[in-house]
Amino acid sequence: MTMAEPVGGRFGDFGGRFVPETLVPACEQLEAAFRSAWADESFRGELNQLLADYAGRPSPLTECHRLSEELGLRLLLKREDLNHTGSHKINNVLGQALLAVRMGKARLVAETGAGQHGVATATAAALLGLECVVYMGEVDMERQALNVFRMQLLGAEVRSALSGSRTLKDAINEAMRDWVATVESSHYCLGSVMGPHPYPWMVRELHRVIGDEAREQCRALMGRDPDVVTACVGGGSNAIGIFSGFVEGDAALVGVEPAGGAAIGRGVPGVVHGSKSFLMQDEHGQVLEAESISAGLDYPGIGPEHSHLAAIGRARYETVTDDEVVAAFELLSRTEGIIPALEPAHALAWVSRARQELAGQSVLLNLSGRGDKDVDQMMDRLVADGSASGDDGQSE
């Protein structure tokens, strides 16, 4: 199988363009603009220059010697945490911000969960001199106050989403409502491989660089592809990015969802936020509220291409609990000197749990972000209950 452009915006039975009529022409315009830009060497050159000189690409591949020994497998990390702004999100927003300029749109609208996409969008807006408004659930603004301030420092306006569960899904609703009203002057800089066509395709293409680099790095290091490629999945952009480098080979692809936001694990097909995909919903079609320790994965849906990869059996999707995530967060910090964001700690939590199944195999994990933003939250959780590792027998 290949990851070509989805025909008619569809990945098998999933995807599509389920948006208010007002937005249809804007989606068509965006699709045409992206297709033309992506085929334009000068656009690609400009983006690659920014990815190298500004974002710091290529990101390294790190072999985890101590942790590999502890787990009994060969663990490799794709270090998206080392990108400028601290996560993979910058790949997508630099592309979309350049595209906005190309379309003559001077204002970016974005949603954010943990704040990483919001920070990345605010960063790209500052770099290119664009106006930027970021919607963030009120609950997430409390959990990620530091990122709110970062966005403000970067010149963005952060607006709170007060409806529903006041998390990522509601921030997306508010961003779409903004776009309905401002579509002529604004570009909606959507942060994951979800939403109406062309977003799932376009955002995948903008993150493909992760998988392309990792494939070359793995071949240079091991002379072959890894046995397993794994990544955390909320909407699923970092996972699609790394999967896209390996989907045509033999590596097993494993997406890891939080138990409280498992669209594939607990969902059934539905339509929200512009596309048909697996969705956590009740028997009446009301979308359920996701609950996860990680604001970035607190989403009841999933990108349509993941639903397709699951349906055809090319990728499998596992779930992990908050407790397993916290243990993995500590494990990587302690054994490798890398404090991960809570999101990729989900993927590590699965690797750690599945260590027997994975014994002796090479496992490539997309370390999609760094943990600075989560340190406060972890300090509250770990220090408060006196369970911080490496602290045994000592007073706080």
């Binding site: 389920f18 249809v24 529903g164 009446h284 009301q286």
Partner: protein
């Protein structure tokens, strides 16, 4: 174009052929004494009524209808409960349900269409189901004899408006402005422009909604349009203390302004 217009389109055409302007208020199903609200709106001169089936993520709706959705859902309303109630209601005007596509999709498209028909609901409006995605639903709706009202927005080309009007049933719902539902201080200039562009390409009744919140604004848009849809202004009465009586008063004022 199908041979016989359905009951919604027939009622709106009848109003137009009498030289009148159509008035279609919107109420949220499950919000307070909503059935009394529907009866009050019908008594006060509505030509047809839109009934919202609440959805958790109403992206085309502004704060008032969001709040109505949240309150109705918190009260435990379900799609089937709304439809059952509509089946028992006899208020003498055609009804259209307005909801989001996932509600129909989860129900099963054919089952949703047949339940609408069984409960005597004339039409359905699904604001996140644009023309290109509408096929499976309109097929099911046509088979069940349910009219599907499509929305037309200011961002569409004339060519697109023509395709929307060719596929819509009941009426074509002109979106009066760039934005979500809700009252505005003044009628957007785009509302009258929208009505005029639609009138150029279709004989189907042209109603304009979104941003039509006062009798004066309805009057203004109906200089060109065949009628107006009034949502948030009505729902705000249901959210407040006035309830069904206030809805009746308001709809009566709109009726007076349009006659």
């Amino acid at each position: 174009m199908s041979a016989e217009p359905g009951p919604l389109e027939a009622a709106l055409r009848a109003r137009r052929s009498r030289g009148g302007k159509a008035l279609v208020p919107y109420l949220t199903g499950g919000l307070g004494d909503w059935q009394a609200g529907l009866a009050a709106a019908a008594d006060a001169g509505a030509d047809a009524i839109e009934v919202g089936i609440p959805f958790s993520d109403p992206v085309m709706d502004g704060p008032v209808i969001q709040q109505a959705n949240d309150r109705a859902l918190a009260g435990g309303i379900t799609p089937l409960a709304v439809l059952d109630a509509l089946g028992r209601l006899d208020i003498g005007v055609p009804l259209a349900v307005m909801t989001y596509y996932n509600i129909a999709f989860r129900f099963g498209l054919e089952r949703f269409a047949s339940v609408l028909a069984e409960q005597g609901v004339a039409a359905a409006i699904l604001p996140d189901l644009p023309l290109e995605e509408a096929g499976p639903w309109t097929e099911a709706a046509d088979a069940a004899g349910v009219e599907t009202v499509l929305l037309a927005a200011p961002t569409a080309s004339d060519e697109r408006l023509g395709r929307i009007c060719a596929r819509t049933r009941g009426f074509v719902y002109g979106v009066g402005l760039l934005g979500v539902t809700g009252e505005r201080d003044e009628l957007a200039s785009s509302a009258v422009v929208m009505a005029g562009r639609l009138k150029q390409v279709t004989d189907v009744p042209v109603l304009v909604g979104v941003g039509v919140g006062t009798p004066e604004q309805a009057q203004e848009v109906c200089r060109v349009a065949d009628g107006a849809v009034v949502g948030s202004a009505v729902v705000r009465r249901m959210l407040g203390d006035g309830g069904p009586a206030a809805v009746g008063d308001l709809v009566g004022q709109f009726r007076l302004a349009l006659d």
